[in-house]
Symmetry: none
Subunit: 249 residues, 2 copies
């Protein structure tokens, strides 16, 4: 059984080697985290290599939630961090691991569901994955040499979580109890706009369309949208389509 303590979910996106999944489990459990989610592991699941490497933290693998894609993995989350090594020119707030886990702790204390995405070993998260995040975590490594692997990135983030919750349990965290939209709701909103705008010929010229779509998804995920906001944005698009369908008036 996962522990009862509220905590962020750590989402391994398309991890390649089972050993690294096992190492990530160990890194998490060293700091009391046991909610792992795994998106489309390259070598299939379950993974004997992951189990071998996880020694003592195998429970995390047994209980890990397997998802076919990122939207499925983030469906119930209202705030998502993406860990990236490089600057990507995306207009999302960039946090140190410390600041990120502080914010995560505050949000979790206020009842939000928080996830942290970690990319595959070689290339890290795709821009498309990062577009689904609300904010970025960047570990301030030596600019002349950034060479953190997956397990190390998980370790430092888990360590910072532990540092933050060790500290803040004495503080009273109060946040406006907004009814924040979850990942699946943002995803549906993105799909709705993308689909209709595709019909309307918005993504033009075709060569630029993929990039425009990523930018639009970034826009929705970066905004702190409430459920009411999402409903209004759906309503706007539905009404524009109805208006079109009625024809000239």
């Amino acid at each position: 059984m996962p522990s009862q303590t509220s905590q962020p979910a750590f989402v391994l996106v398309r991890p390649q080697m089972g050993e690294n999944i096992g190492a990530a489990a160990r890194a998490m459990w060293n700091f009391g985290l046991d909610r792992m989610r795994i998106v489309a592991p390259r070598d299939g699941w379950p993974s004997p290599k992951a189990v071998a490497m996880a020694s003592g933290a195998g429970r995390l693998l047994d209980e890990a939630r397997l998802s076919p894609d990122v939207p499925d993995a983030l469906a119930d989350c209202s705030f998502v961090f993406a860990t990236t090594a490089r600057q990507r020119g995306l207009t999302k707030p960039v946090f140190s691991p410390e600041a990120a886990m502080k914010l995560a702790a505050e949000k979790i204390a206020a009842g939000e569901k928080v996830a942290v995405m970690f990319g595959p070993e070689r290339a890290g998260l795709e821009n498309e994955d990062v577009a689904k995040a609300n904010a970025i975590i960047s570990v301030p490594v030596n600019p002349a040499y950034g060479s953190l692997n997956l397990g190390q990135c998980v370790l430092l983030t888990a360590y910072e979580w532990q540092r933050q919750v060790g500290k803040i349990e004495h503080e009273v965290v109060e946040m406006g109890k907004a009814d924040w939209a979850t990942g699946v709701e943002i995803e549906k909103l993105s799909d709705h706009y993308e689909g209709r705008l595709d019909e309307a010929g918005f993504f033009f010229p075709p060569a630029k369309a993929p990039n425009m779509k990523v930018n639009l998804r970034n826009l929705w995920s970066r905004m702190a949208l409430t459920n009411a906001d999402v409903q209004m944005l759906h309503g706007i698009m539905r009404q524009m389509v109805r208006w079109k369908q009625r024809g000239d008036e």
Copy 2:
């Protein structure tokens, strides 16, 4: 050449596997540390396995100071930390990595030479080694599961050193250099949407219209929109209107 910045020496005491020495070098150099000392490595020195694992941080191995025993490795140090996993009932101050690296930074700034000892993979430092230290560093791991390996312990300590001396430590690292929209641009965006949605019959029933308009204006102003976002949102609305004007297709 080692960097000129003052920094603690990391002393690997009787490390067993070359791979772990290489991993320690990478962990150190990720956070700008390049003074490694090695005491009596089990499998001899130099170590091809260490070199293979150190990719990009091999210089640390070339420049590492090899010592036959702990006293030789610590000969020029005025303050020594020992990293240990377990409580040992030794009457020495115990520091978190954070507090230890803060103290190390203060001592180094005052001209002292500081070293941090890391024990062999399996058993950690002997009591005899710990006896040569002035203080202990203990990573606050999950009491139910302490399973940090050598490379991870080096990584967390190096990370804390970087946090203590780095410029980008306690707060949000950087808000991606965004070109934020001004109030007047948000106002124009609000007007554009309100006008077109009025035509489209979105604000219905009339009794609720004023409130709906306020909510929509609130939505735009509450979001942290960049100029690019505002342009995209204008573009979306313009395109929906064009689509309507083209009529059924």
